[in-house]
């Protein structure tokens, strides 16, 4: 059928926390903005209701069933085979295609990089340098933090010119004891999180629901659903259930239109002056590859052949043990405290740096499953459950991965329900990361020792858990031969095509990627508004 046509100054593809933030800022500057979101609108109440009814509570994807017309990967009870694994090591990414995107469930970690993360090639001879430095990004970190409502401790290695919008979130008792007992060997710091330690922007302070993942039931943490709402309030138009499957270009290589399917597979065409692809580190390169044409046979923005390559995330290994005192994880937010001393140092020439992260997730469900598996019945069950719930601790590393072109997203031969090729991953855990893991075992043992630990259970050797911080697949850089976009996240190959998302980050450091992605995108917006003569957004609005 003949597609209908919609037009806007800016067409943003993807309504996640980053795409929506970009759309909001552009709309606030007076531009006409259209957001196309592949998935449906979902309410917080539905997610809460689904979680409590879920037979797979530890699977944080379970309250987010994929839409048939815009699937996302799920692995339980069995894989839906949406994200195909080409190996050698599985990369089982989790993300959410719905209005607001994947930060509907996150631990709300909103870290800045440390300054040296921007130049690991120059300093340590590994990876690549970013096309700009920490100081260039600093004001945009601040802007992101004020938008999202970020709180944190001042002593985390990322210098700041203005204070956090909020005080750090109150420290759970268990974390206090860990901090006290690890002195002086380790300094345990409160995490930097987009979680309210007071009423902020009309949202309440945290009430310790301990379900940051998969859902904060009271919106005490920021998420993409709020960002999308703010974008719409600023005047952006959002079309849900609009699964973009192709970008079109004109003879000069400028992007001219986005084509999307609605759930009934009717095709619609959207034209715009500028396009911003913000569909996450997997779906964005997928769309560029899907948009191959005679003029761009390898896909859009891909003259470098770097689209989809340099896939990075944060693998983790961990130690679980029993402390010698009752701590009762599960009171307060899920992920409150870290150790940052291994985030940077000369050792980065040799092995991956890492952040050490203490979980505060309730041990009750996990212990219950373990006891049932063990066949513990009768009176003993309650005693054992209470013992583990009170004493069990877990510390994990969050390891840096270096960019490697062999780690990549490609198109699969298989197609999804809409007939669009599915994404496929090629991934492995490199030596640099493995050596970082090995080094961290020393810290694990020392921490257990200082906590009077017993019953030490290291994660299975060779197994690395994934943290869903998808980076690198649209890497920015100054050289069009080795990067997809320039320092402003504009495609080297297309004058009016920008990217917003963690895919543009050239390296992944040791911290969750969201705040870096938001800050870089705000820098992109600032550049776009300056270049296009639209009045730049003035000082970031304080939301307090």
């Amino acid at each position: 059928m003949m597609p209908d046509v919609t037009a806007a100054d800016f067409v943003v593809i993807g309504s996640g926390i980053i795409g929506s933030t970009v759309a909001r800022r552009l709309a606030e500057a007076g531009a006409s903005v259209l957001i196309l979101e592949a998935g449906p609108r979902v309410t917080r109440g539905e997610v809460v209701a689904r979680f409590r009814n879920s037979p797979r509570r530890s699977d944080w994807m379970s309250p987010y069933p994929p839409a048939p017309w815009a699937p996302h990967p799920i692995y339980q009870p069995e894989s839906n085979n949406y994200l195909l694994q080409a190996g050698p090591y599985p990369y089982e990414a989790e993300y959410i295609r719905q209005v607001g995107g994947t930060t509907w469930h996150w631990a709300a970690h909103a870290w800045r990089n440390v300054p040296n993360d921007f130049k690991i090639k120059s300093l340590y001879g590994v990876g690549v340098d970013w096309p700009f430095g920490y100081d260039d990004l600093e004001p945009f970190y601040q802007e992101a933090e004020e938008l999202m409502g970020v709180s944190g401790a001042p002593n985390t290695g990322s210098p700041r010119k203005k204070p956090f919008p909020m005080e750090p979130v109150a420290e759970p008792y268990a974390m206090r004891r860990i901090r006290e007992r690890l002195v002086p060997a380790y300094e345990v710091v409160t995490n930097t999180t987009a979680r309210n330690s007071r009423t902020y922007d009309g949202r309440p302070a945290c009430c310790g629901n301990n379900s940051c993942q998969p859902i904060c039931p009271i919106d005490a943490q920021y998420h993409g659903g709020l960002a999308a709402q703010a974008a719409e309030q600023a005047g952006a138009r959002l079309i849900a259930d609009a699964n973009v499957y192709k970008l079109e270009h004109d003879e000069r290589g400028r992007i001219s239109a986005a084509l999307y399917y609605d759930p009934d597979k009717n095709s619609h065409r959207v034209t715009g002056k500028t396009f911003v692809v913000a569909a996450n580190g997997i779906e964005s390169p997928r769309l560029l590859l899907l948009s191959a044409s005679d003029k761009f046979p390898r896909g859009l923005a891909n003259s470098s052949d770097m689209v989809g390559r340099n896939l990075m995330d944060h693998p983790s290994t961990s130690l679980t043990f029993d402390a010698d005192e009752d701590l009762w994880l599960g009171r307060g937010p899920q992920s409150p405290s870290s150790i940052g001393i291994m985030r940077d140092g000369a050792f980065r020439a040799e092995h991956a740096p890492y952040r050490l992260d203490f979980t505060n997730i309730s041990r009750v469900d996990g212990t219950t499953r373990a006891l049932i598996a063990e066949g513990v019945y009768g009176d003993e069950f309650a005693q054992r459950l209470r013992h583990s719930a009170a004493r069990e601790l877990n510390v994990k590393n969050v390891l840096e991965v270096l960019p490697d072109p062999n780690h990549r997203i490609t198109l699969s031969e298989q197609k999804d329900a809409m007939g669009i090729p599915k994404p496929q991953t090629h991934y492995s855990i490199g030596d640099y990361t493995r050596k970082g893991h090995e080094r961290s075992q020393r810290d694990f043992r020392r921490i257990a020792e200082l906590m009077g630990g017993s019953n030490l259970r290291f994660s299975k050797e060779g197994d690395f858990a994934n943290n869903q911080h998808i980076c690198g697949t649209l890497s920015m850089g100054d050289d069009p031969k080795s990067s997809v976009c320039d320092q402003w996240a504009r495609a080297h190959d297309h004058e009016n095509l920008y990217f917003a998302g963690t895919g543009v980050l050239p390296t992944c450091g040791t911290c969750n990627s969201t705040e870096n992605g938001v800050a870089v995108a705000l820098r992109t917006v600032h550049h776009i508004l300056g270049e296009q003569g639209v009045r730049p957004v003035s000082a970031p609005p304080g939301q307090g």
Binding site: R44, G45, A49, I218, D219
Partner: protein
Amino acid sequence: MPSNPSTWRFPILIIVLVVTALAGEVASAADNPDAALVEQGRYLAIAGDCAACHTAPGGKPMAGGVAIATPIGSIISTNITPSKTSGIGNYSLEEFSAALRRGVRADGQRLYPAMPYTSYAKITDADVKALYAYFMHGVETVDHKPPETRLPFPFNIRLAMMAWNWLFLDTRPYAPDPAKDAEWNRGAYLTIGLAHCDDCHTPRNILMAEQNSRLLGGAELGAWFAPNITSDADSGIGAWSVDNLVRYMRDGHASGVAQAAGPMAEAIDNSLRYLTEEDLRAIAVYLKTVPAVHDSADTKPPFAWGTAGDALSTIRGVAVPADRDQWSGARLYDAYCATCHQAQGQGSFDGGLPSLFHNTTLGRANTSNLVMAILDGVHRQPDVDMPGFANELSDRQVATLSSYLIQRFGNPSGSVTVDQVKTARAGGPSGNWLVLAARLVIGIVVLILVAVPIIALIRRRRSVSV
């Protein structure tokens, strides 16, 4: 009235005083021979909640300009800073007193009864003097004149208020009852005078004058309900302890009894929480003696209803319906309320997140405040104690949820309809204004007509802020 020495214990007030004094724009000490009197006046101005109408959000204190929206036009509060050009800087003590206690401006014009001068009429001469000292010397001068109030004919005939005043304004200051002790008398003076609790809590007659026979007997306040606070055990606050009343006025909540929301939360935020423990106790002691106004439908105190319980067996293991308007009350409770109030409505361990049984909001036959709490939430500056759900829940969902809450945790004689939620969402009943106006036009002297809607509309306005 003697000055209240405990005022000095309020560090906030002292800080404000010092800071504003240092600001230099406030009249200098040379013009201000009696700092203690000014400070007493400041406290009284807080007790009288002058700022509620005369300080715009984010604006300069007492500079006016707050537009009070009514169906007949906006009434705009005036600048009452000591500005000689824009405020009340030229007022003599006598002129100040006349405005405060008689509703007459220095230029002879009548105030609209948006100004609660029928209550302020009870303020003693000594307190008027202190208030005058504060407004002349303790308030920063702002030389900006807010726009004039311009109501259409016949409401623009301010002289009309004379007749209403003649009928309903008792100009005698509060006279202590010698049969009662000083605490009781102080409480009565504050309750029905300076703090003008009666302004909202006393029902009005057809001419919008307070019904003295039902003093503090409870009244609709737009979409909210200002409850009966007489001594009746089942309909009023007779079953509350004095301590709980004090806690409620000071903290905005009394555990296991009630939480303040809407206009009452504002009154606490702006005024009551700054009052001394002695004054709050005096108000509580007085309230416990106010002649009982009883509604025979009330068979036990509102906070005595309900028990812990759940309907989880109806939703666990049952798929979440796609059409959210078809969700059951139990499902809505699960998705939106149970998170804080807990699965059986029992609240948090320490009661900081309140239980829903033994909760006044659910125990009253009048369900206005339940609906409004769900729509607007509970706000205590600067905090969101409970987020509102107006943007998340439809009228039908709020009605279904409210009915579930009432049946499970509250007084089952209450009910909530979809229409009621719709009306509350729009700011409260509005149709009755037309009825009222029609009656008045027919039966009442045209001049009196002016006062009636205005008081009513003020009451309505107080309910739609948040």
